[in-house]
């Protein structure tokens, strides 16, 4: 659901088309747009589930303030997808609760 034409803003600026891997499925995105915007444009609204009750959460403030939109990006959990720019080939996973580090920073250093 992209706003391609707009009476005031004109045509949407064309950006570089890229691919994100979301829970194993490729989706199209525009380079530099927030990950959450790309997901919404692809029709996906549920971004994570809560730890205790497994309730769904989605985009809420779109400003980087509420942390409702956090997901695991390239192995790093709790990334605010509404303010994190999409880059080609990013691996994005929905998370439950606080998620898990795929590579503990300590392990990486060794």
């Amino acid at each position: 659901m992209r706003v391609d034409v707009h009476p005031i803003l004109g045509n949407a600026p064309t950006g570089k088309s890229i691919i994100l891997l979301v829970d194993g499925r490729p989706i199209k995105a525009i380079e530099g747009e927030p990950i959450a915007a790309a997901l919404l444009a692809s029709g996906r609204r549920v971004l994570r589930h809560t730890a205790r009750h497994g309730e769904p959460r989605g985009l809420f403030c779109a400003l980087g303030r509420c942390t409702d939109c956090v997901m695991t990006v390239d192995g790093q959990p709790n990334v605010r997808t509404c303010v994190t720019p999409a880059r080609d080939g990013m691996v994005i996973e929905s998370q439950v609760g606080l998620g898990r580090w795929k590579h503990l920073p300590l392990e990486k250093e060794e």
Partner: protein
Amino acid sequence: MQKTEIAVIGAGPAGLAAAIEAARAGAQVTLIDENERPGGQLFKQIHKFFGSKEHRAGTRGVEIGVDLLEEAKRVGVITRLNTVVYGLYHDKCLGLACGDHSEDLQTQAIILATGASENVLAFPGWTLPGVMGAGAAQTLINIHRVLPGRRILMVGAGNVGLIVTYQLLQAGAEVVAIIEGLPVIGGYGVHASKVRRAGVPILTSHTIVSAEGGESVERAVIAQVDNRWQVLCGTEQTLEVDTVCLAVGLSPLAELAWMAGCRFSHVPTLGGWVPLHDQDMQTSVPGIYIAGDVAGIEEASTAMEEGRLAGLAAAGTLCHLSPEVGEIKKSEVRDRLAALRWGGFGEGRAVAKRQIIEARCEA
């Protein structure tokens, strides 16, 4: 440790105007914002502004934003983006978080222009994906060019609710209704008539009872309320919507002012707890100034004027302007501010602002 004469926190209309004015006077200015791009809320405002010619009435926020950015660059403002100010210490040293590291910045004067945050409303189902701030919807459609949903319920008929409704229509969404708990519409008549002409009903004395759906919003239940905001049984109706936008007010984002020990006052007309400030926008802590929504929720046009005032005052304290010249320039800005706070809506804010200034002087 890094140093700057004046740090301006927040690069919205208030912060940009403050930084430009202070740099023009000759001060070394660092403008800091947590976002990737400067402009604050300004680039979301695609409608034409009100006010007089000096206030660039008839110009869209977007265009004003572009001009401000160019001007800031021209006068030599140092801009630091992707940088959050997380702390403000008593010697006016700032703690900055930039990406994966933190830094300290020693300043001589600080202008807080951090803006506001949207208020939320809790009701059964308010955490479902599809319930979001009206500001979030505005950011999505006007900046990222993605629709938040197809059929939308707007909660709140203040200016934000009305303007964002119209912008959602422009972006191609359907707004099923605007509901407002008060018996009257809070926003400007012009905006209300515009959305009504576009066919969106505005239901006053109505509230949202719940948002329902499995994994995201599928419908919303609304109902009429009495004058004590109690739901009138039997008036419930279900609307088929996939998105609920909350436009229930803004609150000054004043954590840094609390941290600095500034004195506050609770002023409902200005959005809640507001730091006291004097005629120069200086808070109760010498050398710390505020401007824009953090100094009381108003509009982009007033935010810019307050920014100019704070910029001139801060540059003046650091002797970049002679007291005489500074006073002349500041009084020009104060006159323009007074002109903006006029009419049915402006009057109340003018009174509230006077009270803030008087309270600061007595403090």
